[in-house]
Every structure is written in C-alpha cells, then in structure tokens.
Symmetry: C2
Subunit: 122 residues, 2 copies
C-alpha cells in the first residue's frame, strides 16, 4: 500500500480505520485476536496487550508495540469499530493489517485515512 | 474549541497533535503526568495507565479511559511527540487537553487535526 503520503519522510505512519456494519464487536477475545493478527501482519514487536470489556456493551483493546500502538474501540450498538494502527520504522504491510481486522469483524463498509506522523522536513 | 467538525454527530472525537521542538521527551514521569493532566482536563475516567521507556531514548505512554484513550509517543532525537486524545460521550475541554500537553513539553510548534470518529448519518 503506497501512496503520496508514503513519499514524505515521517517518524511514523498512522492508519485510521472506521468499520461499519461489523460482527463480533462485543467479544473481548475477538478484539484480542484481531490485535495479535495486526501485530503479526505488520511484523511489529508486541510489548503489552490489554483488553477492556465495557458494561453493557463495547470493548477497548490496546497493543503497545515497540513501533508505537494498535488500538481498537468498539460500539456494538452502532455496529461500529474505530481502529488505529500507528507504526514507526520500516514500511509495514498495512494492507495485511486491514485484512486482519476485516477477517475478525466482517465490516460491511470500511473507511480509511492514512496520516504520516512527524513529517521531517529536510 | 468548537468548529465545523463538532456539528457532525459522531461516537467519538479524536484530536491528533504533532509537537515539535519539545523538552522533557525522555522523561517517563513527565509523560505520565501529562497523561494524568489530560485526563483531568477532559474529565474522563481513567481505567489504566502505562508508561514504557525505550532504549536508548523515547517514551510511550497510554491512558486507557472509559471514554477511549490518550496516547503519547516521544522521539527525543527529533524533538517530536505524537499525542492522540480520543474521547467519546459529552463534549470535552480539548483546549484544556492541549494546554496540559504544552505545559509539560513546551513545544516550539504545535500542529493539530481534529477527527470526528464514527460519524452517524441520520
């Protein structure tokens, strides 16, 4: 996944995902596995992983990695999940990250924004 | 802090901050206090807080809150910090959040982007 943004040198790359019409949004174990699969797809180094189920519904999951973080928040009442994949260092397989997320939540619709973080102007 | 974005109804609001020319970027205790002060400024409920110092330099800090998350990553070698303040529910004092971050890192330059997450189209 290359685009104009990736030609600017930045310290990090931040993929903002909006998932609609999702399944499995109230499952802490699915959120955890999605985080682990994004970690694997992007070949980052996992430092810490926590999943927080909310009452009555909803889950937050965070994977802190050496190369920044992966975050998932779900709102089952809206069929919506917000996913952020923030990495630094070498180029990552962001398509693989999106695929991993899609596999677990089966969204009907996905919106994406890619932000280059910390653009270094030489 | 109101703008066009806040007139769209979304499940969350995500403030993306880019801080340049910063001080204290290699201090885990400053990162922790900045997270706590953003939590206070935005009146969110803290669930969990972790700070990860890196070798040789750099710190990641995450505050998981009932209303989503606050994340700080620092790159002292670039004088740069990436800060994300993602909240849901009622309107928050995002100006206060920015002020809390500024106070701890004294950035020479701040760039901001405000993303409405999970826009609900009626």
């Amino acid at each position: 996944m290359r685009g104009v943004g990736t030609h600017l040198r930045g310290v990090g790359t931040h993929l903002v995902l909006e998932l609609w019409g999702c399944s499995n949004l109230d499952s802490a174990s699915v959120v955890e596995q999605a985080l682990r699969d994004v970690v694997d797809a992007t070949k980052v180094t996992l430092l810490d992983l926590h999943v927080y189920p909310f009452s009555p519904v909803g889950v937050t999951g965070v994977a802190v990695v050496s190369e920044s973080h992966i975050m998932i928040h779900t709102w089952p009442e809206h069929g919506y999940a917000a996913v952020d994949v923030f990495t630094c260092g070498e180029e990552r397989d962001l398509s693989g990250a999106v695929g991993a997320v899609r596999e677990h939540f089966s969204p009907e619709r996905v919106q994406m924004m890619h932000i280059v973080r910390g653009i270094l102007v030489d």
